[in-house]
């Protein structure tokens, strides 16, 4: 019975994709699928955080941005103008200052061993930290400006793209470690607030640190792991990229499926469903949660890296909470949280709808505009198109609330098996 439902759902999805292929052309549809598969990786990351462990992450955008940035940094061609000047040395000095500052502050926090009282320790640590921070910021400022004016930005390391993806995932994981370490011991609301904050901060940094990311000037074209459209044409290049991401999705799916049915996955669900009893059984609840939070964030970083690479442009102002956080939430809760196939289905389905809804919304509003003018002599505002797209914000919100209320299980509900 359960198998049947999945066959039907995916069969309908396949039909839907087929219709899109015939209507929209192969190149366009391949691009959609390519991006949808990247979203599927991110959605798998969220479904293990939310579906396996019940962790509420509202900062997906931040992890995607980190993944995208790191893959840009690792794989973008080397900027000789920067490396052949004295600027790398100056930048290195800033890092040395920062390391010394961190080391000093850390040493002071550990000075309790030598009999320094706690109040004095806190005071000294905060002062040292603040002074070190000011010194670093004041040395970084001019260096950053110099890099900006003379070399544009620091460029990349010119390493293979796959290295960038892996590093992107790891970077997201490291941030998740610190966020989770602080917030996971408290109630889930704090995690939501903190992830929301960290995502906005990451975006602010990438947008304003021009020496690192070129800010609003954006970085392009990002190198691809497969032959680019310039070499082999759109269809072949996108098919190649799609193959790579599909392999990733499949590998991650099977790994997660195995983990889900393993004792580790059972333990996670036990913690999600009854925290108290699993703690009483001797499970380290916070540590397990931290584990799965980091794992999910690594997948988000990886998916974000693949997503940003696929668009070939790193644009810090292009990261929007709506596209990169809430859309993914809709994918997961609509597809069925806790069900990996559901997450993949949700990612592809919702993304296709999302892409199609753009021309549909514009068409709808243009029709309204035409008839409004003809029948009621109504002059539409000039920014009608951008307003029409806001309609999608409303629909996303409505979908979230309706699914939560009427179908909290999603299209493909989590299969609860009894291991007896």
């Amino acid at each position: 019975m359960a198998i049947k439902r999945e066959f039907i759902v995916f069969g309908l999805l396949g039909l839907f994709i087929l219709v899109i292929f015939t209507q929209m052309g192969t190149a366009f549809s391949l691009r959609m699928l390519m991006e949808a598969s990247c979203y599927a990786i991110i959605a798998l990351g969220l479904t293990i955080q939310w579906g396996y462990a019940g962790l509420f992450n509202v900062g997906i955008m931040g992890f995607i941005a980190v993944g995208g940035f790191l893959t840009m940094l690792i794989s973008f061609p080397v900027n000789d103008k920067f490396w052949n000047s004295s600027m790398p040395a100056e930048l290195g000095m800033v890092f040395v200052y920062a390391l010394v500052g961190i080391a000093l502050t850390w040493a002071i926090t550990k000075s309790g061993h030598f009999g320094v009282s706690k109040k004095l320790r806190t005071f000294l640590a905060v002062t040292t930290g603040a002074i070190a921070y000011l010194v670093v910021m004041n040395t970084l400022g001019p260096v950053g400006d110099e890099i900006e004016s003379k070399a544009g930005f620091i460029g990349g390391f010119g390493l293979p793209v796959f290295v960038g993806w892996v590093v992107g995932g790891l970077g997201a994981g490291i941030i998740a470690y610190y966020v989770g370490h602080i917030c996971l011991g408290l109630r889930s609301d704090y995690l939501a607030i903190a992830t929301l904050g960290i995502a906005e901060i990451i975006k602010a940094v990438f947008k304003n640190a021009d020496w690192l990311t070129q800010g609003t000037l954006t970085v392009s074209p990002l190198p691809w792991p497969t032959p680019t459209p310039n070499d082999v044409g759109f269809i072949a290049a996108r098919s190649g990229y799609l193959v790579v991401t599909t392999i990733l999705v499949v590998v991650i799916y099977f790994a997660l499926q195995r983990a889900y049915n393993a004792p580790w996955g059972r333990m996670m669900r036990a913690i999600r469903d009854n925290e108290v009893s699993s703690a009483a059984m001797g499970k380290n609840v916070n540590k397990r949660r931290l584990e799965i939070f980091i794992l999910g964030s690594i997948l988000m970083g990886l998916g974000g890296a693949a997503l940003i690479t696929s668009t070939r442009i790193f644009d810090p102002s292009g990261f929007l909470p709506l596209n990169h956080t809430f859309l993914i939430w809709v994918m997961v809760i609509l597809g069925g949280s806790g069900n990996n196939l559901g997450a993949i289905f949700g990612a592809i389905f919702v993304y296709l709808i999302w892409i199609i809804s753009e021309p549909a919304a514009i068409l709808m509003f243009q029709t309204i505009q035409t008839y409004g003018l003809a029948w009621f002599d109504w002059n539409a505002p000039s920014d009608l198109i951008s307003r029409a797209l806001q309609m999608r914000v409303f629909v996303i919100g409505l979908t979230i609330t309706l699914v939560l209320r009427f179908a909290p299980q999603g299209v493909l509900p989590e299969k609860v098996t009894n291991h007896g």
């Binding site: 019940g54 509420f56 509202v58 603040a130 921070y133 000011l134 910021m137 004041n138 602080i182 917030c183 408290l186 109630r187 889930s188 609301d189 704090y190 939501a192 607030i193 903190a194 929301l196 904050g197 960290i198 906005e200 901060i201 602010a204 940094v205 947008k207 304003n208 909470p321 709506l322 809430f326 939430w329 809760i333 505002p381 920014d383 951008s386 307003r387 029409a388 806001q390 309609m391 999608r392 914000v393 409303f394 629909v395 996303i396 919100g397 409505l398 979908t399 979230i400 609330t401 939560l404 209320r405 909290p408």
Partner: protein
């Protein structure tokens, strides 16, 4: 002396203004949390909604303020507050109550509130676009320039009319909220429900009425905060998360579930922001003769560049979570 006045304008005035806004928002967040036990992410967009209600009224009756001698936006604000209060109750009935009746986990309520915030955002931007608007299209914003009676002070202290109204409103709101919570029957019921919902229900408190009151207060204060903020600067339809984070930080810093804590937290966050982005180098300028040459005073010494202002409430939030999760006023730990 001029430098001190500059400091006063940039830190004391600006900090008080933004702190009051955060305080008004944080009271609502903290009350909703105390009664309903979830973090209400839609609060910032309810603020924007309230500000739009005021704006519509101002457009409809632009000459109203002239009769009273106050900005029109402030005169129509009570009506906007009332509308927003009922709007908040409606949101609760439509979206939160069904979930509450299903006994969902608190985190599902949080997700639902995010869905609600997106819906409000979508509707507002659909009808109003994303451009910022000015409340003062028909009248002038009154600015008081106060000259200090000192020889050396040639700069003036700048305070605008909406800023004074904001502070006065906050004082009145806080005092009336205090008397409401401590003296009235309904206020006592609210506090009882915040302490123990089950016990208050079985002792005969009508929990539905308490919930509605909470939403009315939260919605009304949010509308006031939104309107007063828009009067002070401009009405921006896309504030949402940028103002939500400081408000949450204020509620957590003050102690979640404690209305007085929310006020203190609002001012802590507001002043932390303005102090962090203030250029301290200006205060050192009068001493340029005293400071030895080998110390090279940079022209800007700010803790945080203005672009990174959002970092400040976040750092405060994290710091309070690490050192004292209950906040200043010993609130609840979420």
């Amino acid at each position: 002396m001029n430098e001190l006045i500059f400091f006063f304008n940039k830190v004391v005035v600006a900090g008080t203004v933004i702190g009051s806004i955060y305080a008004l928002g944080a009271i609502g967040v903290t009350l909703v949390f105390a009664i309903l036990r979830f973090s209400h992410f839609a609060h910032a967009d309810i603020m924007t909604f309230g500000a739009f209600m005021s704006y519509i009224l101002v457009v409809a009756f632009p000459e109203l303020g002239g009769y009273v001698g106050l900005p029109t936006g402030f005169v129509v604000m009570p009506i906007a507050m009332l509308v927003t209060a009922f709007f908040a109750v409606g949101l609760d009935k439509a979206f939160y109550k069904p979930l509450r009746d299903n006994n969902v986990k608190p985190v599902v309520m949080v997700i639902a509130s995010i869905g609600v915030t997106l819906m409000i955002q979508g509707v507002l931007r659909l009808f109003a676009g994303t451009t910022s608007r000015n409340f003062y299209f028909a009248e002038n914003k009154e600015i008081f320039r106060i000259k200090l009676p000192f020889e050396a002070a040639s700069r003036k202290i700048f305070i605008t009319e909406p800023q004074i109204l904001l502070v006065l409103f906050l004082i009145v709101a806080v005092i009336s909220l205090h008397f409401f919570l401590t003296r009235s029957r309904l206020g006592k019921a609210m506090r009882a429900m915040s302490d123990n919902p089950d016990l208050s229900r079985i002792s005969g408190i009508n929990t539905n009425v308490v919930v509605w009151t909470t939403w009315m207060i939260a919605g009304g204060l949010a509308a006031a905060a939104g309107t007063l903020l828009s009067l002070d600067v401009t009405l921006k339809p896309d504030l949402s998360f940028n103002i939500l984070l400081p408000i949450f930080a204020a509620a957590v810093v003050g102690g979640v579930g404690k209305p007085y804590g929310a006020i203190a937290g609002g001012f802590v966050v507001g002043f932390a922001e303005t102090l962090a982005i203030f250029n301290w180098s200006i205060l050192l300028r009068p001493f340029s003769g005293i400071i030895p040459d080998w110390i090279d005073v940079p022209s800007t010494i700010a803790f945080v560049p203005t672009e990174y202002k959002i970092v400040v409430p976040f750092v405060l939030l994290i710091a309070i979570l690490v050192w004292r999760p209950t906040g200043i006023f010993k609130g609840k730990v979420l």
